[in-house]
Each structure stands twice: as structure tokens, then as C-alpha cells.
């Protein structure tokens, strides 16, 4: 029971953090920021890896491996796309 409450507290505080941390983003960064958050939820790869290890039957291993593949695409593709978008801003520091 206690753990559920801790998890809920974490959920609440994380949601506030998510709102606050980007609340003053200029319009020009909307797209790169969307891409950046897209990269961050690539953390799902870690979950896929753990769940795949948990698999018991060959079918579950195959499904798990598919999840790992999708997660890796999310992480690497998400990072590379964001970096390409933001390359455009280099050397324009004021």
C-alpha cells in the first residue's frame, strides 16, 4: 500500500516537472522540443529489455525482441532527428 502512494507522489511531481520545465518555450523550439521529448520516452527500451528477459516461451521472446527493436529505433532515431534539427542553431549564440 505504501509503495502505491510513493509511486503516486512520484507521478504527481514528475507531471509538474514536465509542465514547468518547458513552460516558457519559444515557438521556434516547438518542433525540436517535441522531437526531444520523443527521444526521451525512448527510455521505453530499458523496459523492453527487462520484459524480454522475463519471457518464458519462444513466442514471448520473439515479441519481446520486437519490442526491443522498436525501442532502439525510438532512442536512436529520436536522438538523431532532434540533433539534426538543432544543428541549425549552432554558432548563433548571442
Amino acid at each position: 500500500m505504501n509503495e502505491v502512494w510513493i509511486a503516486l507522489y512520484i507521478f504527481m511531481l514528475s507531471a509538474f516537472t514536465g509542465f514547468e520545465v518547458i513552460s516558457r518555450v519559444p515557438v521556434i523550439l516547438h518542433t525540436p522540443l517535441m522531437s526531444g521529448t520523443n527521444f526521451i520516452h525512448g527510455i521505453v527500451l530499458v523496459g523492453s529489455m527487462i520484459v524480454m528477459m522475463n519471457a518464458q516461451t519462444p513466442f514471448e521472446v520473439v515479441v519481446g525482441a520486437f519490442g526491443v527493436f522498436l525501442g532502439a529505433l525510438n532512442v536512436v532515431g529520436g536522438f538523431a532527428v532532434t540533433d539534426r534539427m538543432l544543428e541549425m542553431f549552432k554558432g548563433r549564440k548571442k
Binding site: T17, F19, I22, V25, N38, G67, V68
Partner: protein
């Protein structure tokens, strides 16, 4: 060892939050992404000792690890190469595609947890939620990708009873979720329905609204990852997923606000379907490049309105040449950037920055709109809906109420346009038929380079 693993995850989450913070300012954004990347690398690498400690008794351990590493490498190579190879203008659909992959991965975790999870009932409920949301995001994002890529046409697809069908599907999914948790044999049917629903949600969305919908799917994937985190009791997933879910939701609202639309209107309004009567007996007047060049060369002030056509033609360097040429003649040149010009907010800024056009010359809608009346020429390069006066004066227009750039106030309006077709939203544009409007048909890059050549002769 356990403390090292948990501590590394903690550090990774900290780096995510810090990176996200840096991502919301132009000067630090790229560093922000790199910092989040370092966090991600830590999190992935530390997962190997974690699963070793937990699962090394498993007879299949080595096989699983080999398959896993192979899958990670395969996904990484495909992700990296495709992200690096696609043209800059196709970035929006790449975001959609990779988001869809994340949603799919989140769905897979939910699926396996329901199938195998030894957790309690409440954890399976959370796994079911992750499965629903992740899978909708998966198929919806792929639908968005296919539409933006033009493979299934970027016009909205509507049919009678569409909303009712979606509502019935959603209800069926919830009922099946309940059944599945009691009897596992419903699991596959339960998985297929959200796949269909995600696709159906995307069908009626017009191309212009797609960025907002992609952002929504992005937030949904974040939420699905958070629910997965609850289901497998992993705090890293809970925190990261929730942060993305929250910031993605806020971002979705900010994007919709920039277009003066509401989320419900975008999702259920089916904007972009071709409305209005048949083409009336009106003609767009053409102007020769030489005439246009003369007007530009002797103008005092020119406001350039870039749009998707500029991006599609990769004409950002040509527009810089034009700006230099005009400025060397003492013409004042400014760029008017509509919040949703191009296919994504910020699309134009990124593109113009690439061509070394200084930030100071880019003006927001509110900053520049008063100035059109003092401009001799408004030069519209491949933009359409963002200058369509119907948004102000035609209550029947699907874009009515969207703030537009008041290019019609300029003394002359020149429009560089690929053809006579309609814009992204599929509606006719009054501006093109005004007496003071002249069209330069052709690929934006060709027309601009001809203009630059012609101006040099004056």
C-alpha cells in the same frame, strides 16, 4: 551493486530533466539533447548488469542477450541511417515514425506483462492501459507518417458515422480490457482493436493539423511508458514517461494555440476537407520575373512570407541571396514568420537559420502585422493558408479564426507558387485574386534565382 545501478538510473533521469530544460532555449537546445543522450546511454548500459544479476540463472540467458543486442544494433542502425538520410523537410514525419516505434514498444511491454506478469491485479490494469495507449500511438503515428509522406494522401478522409464508430471501438476496447484481465484468451483481439482505432483517429486529420496530432501521440507514448513503469515497477520509466506525458500535453496545447484551434476541434472537426463552391470565374494574374524584379529593386521595404513551398524547394539559400541583393540596394527586408508556416511550428526559423539569415530579421505574427501597410511588396514564397483572408472574413471557412499574416495590406503582393492548386488545408485563397496580387508560377528556387539575376541588372 544495487546502489550503483539505482544511482545510475537516478542520474539518467536527472540528466533528462536538465536536458529538457536546456532544450527550451535556442542557444542551449542542442547541448540539452546531447545531455539527455548521455543520460540515455547510462540508462541503457546499466540495464545489462541489472538483467545479469536478475536473470543469469535462466537457461536461455545467453541466447536472449544475443538476440537483444542484435535487435538493439539493428534498430540503432536503421534509426540512425534513416534519420540522417531523409531531407530536412521530411523531419516532421520522422518524428511521427520514431514516436510510433516508442508507442509500439510500450504496447509490447503491456502485452507481455498481461500475458506473463506475475504481478497483482492492479498492475495488470496499468499494463492494459499502457497497451491501449501505446498501441493507439503506434498505429496513429504510422498513419500520420503515411499521410505526411503523401503515401495515403494528406487530405482528410471522412465518412458518415466516423465519430460514432470510433466511440464504439473505444467502448469495445474497454470491455475487452476487462474481459482480458479475467480470461487471457481475449488478449490478441484486445491488442488489435486499439491498432485500428489509432489509424481511424488519424484518417480525418488534414495535413496542416498533423503536427498537433503528432505532438498528442508523443504525449500519449510518454504516458504509456509511465504506465509500463508502474506495471513493471520501474521508477526510471515512471518518471521519464510522466515528464514526457506532461510536457508533451502542454506542448500540444501550445501548438494548437499558435493555430488558434482547440484540440477537440482538430481531432473531431475534420478541417481541411474541401469545402466551398466550385472555382469561380476568376483568374490569377501572372507577372514576368523582370517586372517583379524591378518593383522589388526600387522598393523601400519588402516583407518576405516564407511557407512550405520554400522548404519543399530547398530555396532557403536563394532567399538569402535575394535578401543580400536587395539590401545592397538599400531596400529594407524583413521576414514574417507565421507560427505554423511550413509543416511544423519553427520549421521556417530552422530553415532560414540554416541559410544564415539573422534572427533579428525574423518577425512573429504580432510584431509584423502592423507593418504590412507600410511595405511596398509582400513577397509570398510558397505560403498559402497562413495569408488567406478567409480566416478573417469567411465564417464558413474551416480556417476561420486562425490568425493570419495581413499580407493583403501591402501595396503589392507577389506570390511565388508551384501551381494553381490549393493550399494544404484544401481551400481557395482570395488573396491570389486581388487586383494588387501578381503570381510568379514555378519552383521557388528557380523563380528566386531568376529574380536575383534580374535584380542584378538594375
Amino acid at each position: 551493486m544495487n546502489h550503483i545501478i539505482t544511482g545510475t538510473y537516478f542520474l539518467a533521469v536527472l540528466l533528462f530533466i536538465f536536458g529538457l530544460k536546456l532544450l527550451s532555449s535556442p542557444t542551449t537546445a542542442r547541448r540539452g539533447n546531447l545531455i539527455a543522450g548521455v543520460g540515455m546511454l547510462f540508462a541503457i548500459l546499466i540495464t545489462f548488469p541489472l538483467i545479469y544479476l536478475q536473470y543469469n540463472q535462466d537457461p536461455l540467458f545467453t541466447t536472449k542477450i544475443l538476440v537483444m543486442v542484435l535487435m538493439i544494433l539493428l534498430g540503432s542502425v536503421i534509426g540512425w541511417v534513416s534519420a540522417k538520410k531523409v531531407p530536412l523537410t521530411d523531419m516532421p514525419q520522422m518524428v511521427a515514425l520514431f514516436n510510433g516505434m516508442g508507442g509500439g514498444a510500450a504496447g509490447v511491454i503491456g502485452y507481455l506483462e498481461i500475458l506473463r506478469g506475475h504481478g497483482e491485479f492492479s498492475l495488470k490494469v496499468l499494463a492494459a492501459l499502457a497497451l491501449i495507449i501505446g498501441t493507439i500511438s503506434f498505429s496513429g503515428s504510422i498513419g500520420a507518417f503515411l499521410k505526411l509522406q503523401g503515401w495515403i494522401g494528406d487530405r482528410p478522409i471522412t465518412f458518415p458515422g466516423q465519430q460514432i464508430l470510433n466511440a464504439i471501438l473505444l467502448l469495445a476496447i474497454l470491455i475487452l480490457a476487462f474481459l482480458t484481465l479475467r480470461d487471457i484468451s481475449y488478449l490478441n483481439l484486445f491488442t488489435v482493436l486499439p491498432l485500428i482505432l489509432g489509424f481511424l483517429i488519424t484518417l480525418p486529420i488534414g495535413g496542416a493539423d498533423m503536427p498537433v496530432v503528432i505532438s498528442l501521440f508523443n504525449a500519449m507514448t510518454g504516458l504509456a511508458v509511465a504506465f509500463d513503469g508502474f506495471a513493471i515497477q520501474n521508477y526510471t520509466l515512471i518518471v521519464s514517461g510522466t515528464i514526457v506525458g506532461a510536457s508533451g500535453t502542454l506542448l500540444t496545447f501550445l501548438m494548437a494555440k499558435a493555430m488558434n484551434r482547440s484540440i477537440t476541434n482538430i481531432l473531431f472537426g475534420a478541417v481541411g476537407k474541401i469545402v466551398g463552391g466550385e472555382a469561380k470565374d476568376r483568374v490569377m494574374k501572372e507577372i514576368s520575373v523582370e517586372d517583379a524584379a524591378a518593383t522589388l529593386a526600387y522598393a523601400n521595404k519588402v516583407i518576405i512570407v516564407p511557407g512550405f513551398g520554400l522548404a519543399a524547394a530547398q530555396a532557403q539559400h536563394k532567399i538569402k541571396e535575394l535578401m543580400d541583393e536587395l539590401e545592397s540596394r538599400g531596400v529594407e527586408v524583413k521576414f514574417a514568420i507565421h507560427p505554423v508556416a511550413g509543416r511544423m511550428p519553427g520549421h521556417m526559423n530552422v530553415l532560414l537559420a540554416e541559410a544564415d539569415i539573422p534572427y533579428e530579421k525574423l518577425y512573429d505574427l504580432e510584431e509584423i502585422n502592423e507593418e504590412f501597410s507600410t511595405a511596398d511588396v509582400a513577397l509570398i514564397v510558397g505560403a498559402n493558408d497562413v495569408v488567406n483572408p478567409a480566416a478573417e472574413n469567411d465564417p464558413n471557412s474551416p480556417i476561420y479564426g486562425m490568425p493570419i499574416l495581413k499580407a493583403y495590406n501591402a501595396k503589392n503582393v507577389f506570390v511565388i507558387k508551384r501551381g494553381r492548386g490549393r493550399g494544404f488545408a484544401g481551400i481557395d485563397n482570395e488573396l491570389f485574386y486581388l487586383d494588387k496580387t501578381f503570381m510568379l508560377f514555378g519552383d521557388a528556387r528557380d523563380v528566386l534565382s531568376k529574380l536575383v539575376q534580374a535584380i542584378k541588372r538594375f
